[in-house]
Point group: C3
Chain length 343, copies 3
Amino acid sequence: MKKTLVAIAALAAFGAASAQSSVTLYGRIDASIGNQKTTTGGVTVADPGALISSGAHTGSRWGLKGSEDLGGGLKAIFQLEQGFNIDDGTASSARQFHRGAWVGLDGGFGSLKVGRQYDITHTMYGKYDPFGYSGFSAMGYSFNVGCGTGGSGNCVGRQDNTVMYTSPSMGGFSIAAMWAPGEDKTAAASAGKVYGFMANYSNGPIAAGLGWQSNKANAVGANQARTDTNFGASYDFGMAKAYLQLENGKNKNTVGTGKDSGYGLGVVVPFGAASLTAGYAAEKQKVAGTKVSDAKAFSLLGKYDLSKRTYVYAAYRRGETDPAGANNTTKVTKYGLGLVHNF
Amino acid sequence: MKKTLVAIAALAAFGAASAQSSVTLYGRIDASIGNQKTTTGGVTVADPGALISSGAHTGSRWGLKGSEDLGGGLKAIFQLEQGFNIDDGTASSARQFHRGAWVGLDGGFGSLKVGRQYDITHTMYGKYDPFGYSGFSAMGYSFNVGCGTGGSGNCVGRQDNTVMYTSPSMGGFSIAAMWAPGEDKTAAASAGKVYGFMANYSNGPIAAGLGWQSNKANAVGANQARTDTNFGASYDFGMAKAYLQLENGKNKNTVGTGKDSGYGLGVVVPFGAASLTAGYAAEKQKVAGTKVSDAKAFSLLGKYDLSKRTYVYAAYRRGETDPAGANNTTKVTKYGLGLVHNF
Amino acid sequence: MKKTLVAIAALAAFGAASAQSSVTLYGRIDASIGNQKTTTGGVTVADPGALISSGAHTGSRWGLKGSEDLGGGLKAIFQLEQGFNIDDGTASSARQFHRGAWVGLDGGFGSLKVGRQYDITHTMYGKYDPFGYSGFSAMGYSFNVGCGTGGSGNCVGRQDNTVMYTSPSMGGFSIAAMWAPGEDKTAAASAGKVYGFMANYSNGPIAAGLGWQSNKANAVGANQARTDTNFGASYDFGMAKAYLQLENGKNKNTVGTGKDSGYGLGVVVPFGAASLTAGYAAEKQKVAGTKVSDAKAFSLLGKYDLSKRTYVYAAYRRGETDPAGANNTTKVTKYGLGLVHNF
């Protein structure tokens, strides 16, 4: 049955008893002017000058989502989301619905979603970061997401083939568990997999959570296995909301056992239609007890709401990555003045 | 704020006289967990273990379609449809609207549609198969669609550059004709082309049809020319609906004249909100009178409707392909437990 | 007629005071049958025979656009548009929103749009051409858009990273300015850039405008810099509307200074629901004062409206390009019979 799409509210307006179908076409556009300059050991590596950018603060995207009432409190839910670049019209990935593609059921038991979606660690990163782990986030600069040397083959972020269960809130307390089986099973090796758990508490001004995730590749090698543990908390003092996040990663591989541990701090101060957000984060990475690199970053974001759906911002981030060795620190300075429109 | 999209037609219902325009945003998502194991000569060739899949039963897709009343019973109609994979967010083809892209006119004369669309043979396959020739279809496993050895260069399925005329129903009787000219004309050779005809009858519990299609490549070679003839019928006994399909393909090429002939049987038994569908199909392929391969498959599908738009299913298919030669039979066993949501 | 898919907020207009949000899903499909034959020096180079085509007259596309009332006469506006081919379902470009992707603000000051959009010269081309510089346009055939030999590296057309300001109409007079900084700055060279201005006047039957644009590459070379100057005018006599356009391009590069100058004429004659459009355009190109090539084209388009959103057309264009040298004139003859449906 194909339906021309009518809002729940629209059907309700006719006075009908059941208003069970809806599809929502939505999106977000972030256009800005700014620059990002990179130096290594004091020498400029990249400085493209004034740039028109897309998603410097929050990724431009459009998507479809919907829910259908199945009766008895049960709903079918789905979401399909593509990222794009407003500056040149390109997609942000060759994947059609790179940013998310899932379907599921939602009801008294919680929700069960199947498809491509954010994993536990990335969800934690976003939840306890006042920048939402987006473009100007200090945590986004500093935290190792597990790719490359010392990391696992599966990066922290969005995962394919994911089954995610999220419990309902029970007195402010909820849990979630994910399982994402790989498709690379061979005669010689099991498939890789990603799985994890998190527990969150939210009640009035306080929120806190603990997450754990394991990324396993299907083969022994440089990127064999990684686990991430995260703790996050926020408290809303009214005149300001403060954030804290601690993260700890371990990886086991043929080049030795790696460890990275970091922390992030943040604060949002509202001023009527405006707000000021600041963040700081740092992380140390070691392999077999020896320093690989230290990273730290500081961010500042000023927002002014033009409406509920549209705001302008000015943002700045300065990050430093100091690898083992002398005079090779990389410094990345990014700033932008932008407009964000939600539709 | 996210807004659910409402057509003017819906608004017009509030009082306006004419509500002639509409664009419908629609889709379908099939997510499942299951596996597909393949053995050849008794040796396991592929067995990826538990897999989260998209479209195991029916392809995940989204699209736009619409119709405009032109007056005098005439309508402009169109459809654009993209397939995607809910498990990883990828498109199911590099083509944007791989599953269909056409525009046309519909009226008392029937309909005339121009663009990329299903051809005659594939339409017949779908119409007289209780599985709709989709992922668990026994006919889908067994019937040769004309690609590869002994087939024509143009596979049966969706065709580009297609003009499709479908007559209105005249006492239950209707006809359709298609013509799809190739774009590969050279000084030395005519362009390839696909054309075909079908006649269908549908009245109360009975339906039956006959189709014929020719696929011609632009060059003499291994895949020079192919014709397909199909007969299908279904009868609804009330407590069950039975299906029959016979198909016959001939191809002429430099490696000799090939023939394939097959049949399919199916039945759907409804049980209130649930139903059970079973199918069996077999086909024999020969080139120059010598066996190339025999194929057969058996399928079972149980569905339970959660609503008009959403259902869960459990499905199983076992297929065997026995090529000429000893101890080389390929057996493919596929099963899945899934959720299908239409929007 | 474009149908705005209206948000819940819009429905609130049936009772609430403000209806400020909307997203519109829209599109256009052009399907036709025709052919395009090319000869060079009298020898047929291409003649693919009867072809089903997409966008022969006007590009098939779909998109999202919207506006949000921010109060005080200010609006947030955006548009995302993808081209596709109705004949085979492919996208018309690997870029997701190839045809346009921008966001901006609109108000008493005019509008400011940021992203991928038409540049000044292409906007002028379209505004003073009765064919809208589309598929059968004589100007589209004849006018050099600045790519290739003697042109600049940045073609005239759609530009990335573009900031476009358009003033409000002041007694029929309006101006626009664009600036599109390149992203190819290196230690040795500034980034390329495109910038331009136009002024237009429109009052009753008369319209006229002047545009100027500069395309600069980031390097000295064969395609170093180009400027385009355009003048256009139209007058509506009631029984017919006449168009005139003059264009002049200069380029500076290592192979010598190139110049191209051309003109276009057009007329649209309405006959009730039908109309006849004719156009002629010619251009001469020289490098260092020596002829590179002369181009000229003649076009004819008959339209018949089936509704406000749908029409059929028959169109013809014959173009000739005569490069320096003997017996090497290329002649391109294109015709088509098509249906255009807007949604």
